[in-house]
Amino acid sequence: MSYIVLKNVFLTYNPDSPGGGIEALNDISFEVLKGSFTSIIGPSGCGKSTLLYCVGNLLEPTRGSIVIDGKRPQEARKNRMFGYVPQDPTLMDWKTVLENIALPSKIMGIRNNDRISELIELVGLRGFEKNYPRDLSGGMKQRVSLARALSYSPPILLMDEPLANLDALLREKMNEELLKIWKETGTTIVLITHDISEAVLLSDKVVILSKRPGTIIEIVTIDLPRPRSRKSLRLPEAHAYIDRFRDMLSV
């Protein structure tokens, strides 16, 4: 059953400007199944982030319709259905690690959130609860950001290249962690990445966007057995997907 449906979505920045504005998205249509993992890949500047903002109602499309679980994106956002993991971790410098992770709960009025303590354990930040972001490395900040998004158990996770700043090993570990979290929570995940093998490893479906203005080149279903781990990438089928995507994007 389709959980997120995009139909003919267009977005132009500053459409009223003399040059006609900047066209970021051009006729984007795809569907996301409930509980599935979808990745969006494409060259940088192709409108991947813009697309994610549109889904999360952080930006209004110029044209087209988006439906989230039968609701308008605005309603979905008001019902706090989105866990947004931004590209920049965007931690509040004036809050400790614990306070940062607890920020959404505080805003949403969720009291005594037991999940927070579990999440600190899960993302490996036990012992850093009282530190300020200035004490953390880039990777640790990303993990705080992820824990913060998971803290209120949103049904949909919107992730904007959240692992971009991690080193390769930590990234692999976080990817497996992400698969585990995804399996445990049944969250519907939409991930933006420019890492092709990451997309193949994680996703049920990969949406490939072209250069600006972003149009869909192809939507590919990744037919690799689950559960997956980094070893899944050694399968010949996985290689076939990776090669195919690389060819599409290098045009």
Partner: protein, 265 residues
Amino acid sequence: MKKGPLKYNFDSYYPWFSLVIFLLVWQLAAGYFKIPTYILPSPLLIISKGIEIWPTLLHHLLVTVNETFIGFVIGSIVGSFFAFFISYFSLARKIFLPYIVAFQTMPKLGLAPLFIIWFGFGLFTNITIVTSISFFPILVNFFAGLDQFNENEERLMASYNASKNQIYFHVRLFRAFPFLFAGFQLGIILSVTGAIVAEFIAGNEGLGYLTILANNTLETPMMFCALLLLGIVGFVLYHIVDFLQKILMPWAARTKTLTGTESGL
């Protein structure tokens, strides 16, 4: 300045060496060239004068500190609240912001004679002058801080469906803190200036008044004493503000202020 774990390195003694040498040269030159004391008294003479009239100096010092402090506190409270008010309410911003921009460049000390006409001579007038001069830098800085727009933070807060109140009290207020303190630092220095000028023109007490009195009677050593104390007052008050900032903003390792200076913790 060097930064590192060794906080008190040798470099920090250089200013003290040069100070001692400067005072020594001054002392010797004053004696050797027989400079009249009403033009340039020697350091030792200034110190002995200071000890001699210490009770008087202390009295005037306390008057000036009192005016500066009360005026600054009122200016800070009014300035901060007004900044918040015009930042939070867009209608208030539309109404008041043009006036603030217009008044910002006006020399507020020019209003001092007007205050004397309105409020007469005395403490109240002097505090009003201090308040009026410290109010603006605090207002303008804090407003600029509150008005910063961090796209990432606003987007994140929007994804939580946070209210305007929540955005202000979890994000914007904190983001504006360094700006507020930059305003306080400018404000406290201007407050001391304001207090002295107020005493110049409308005082019968205070270090500014004492300076004018010394001027009229050519009591230059006393004038030096008063000026030295004024310098110390400004220095101490400025560093109290700096200290408060470090206490109240433990998350900030280094904070850039509007004036471009860096205050390291």
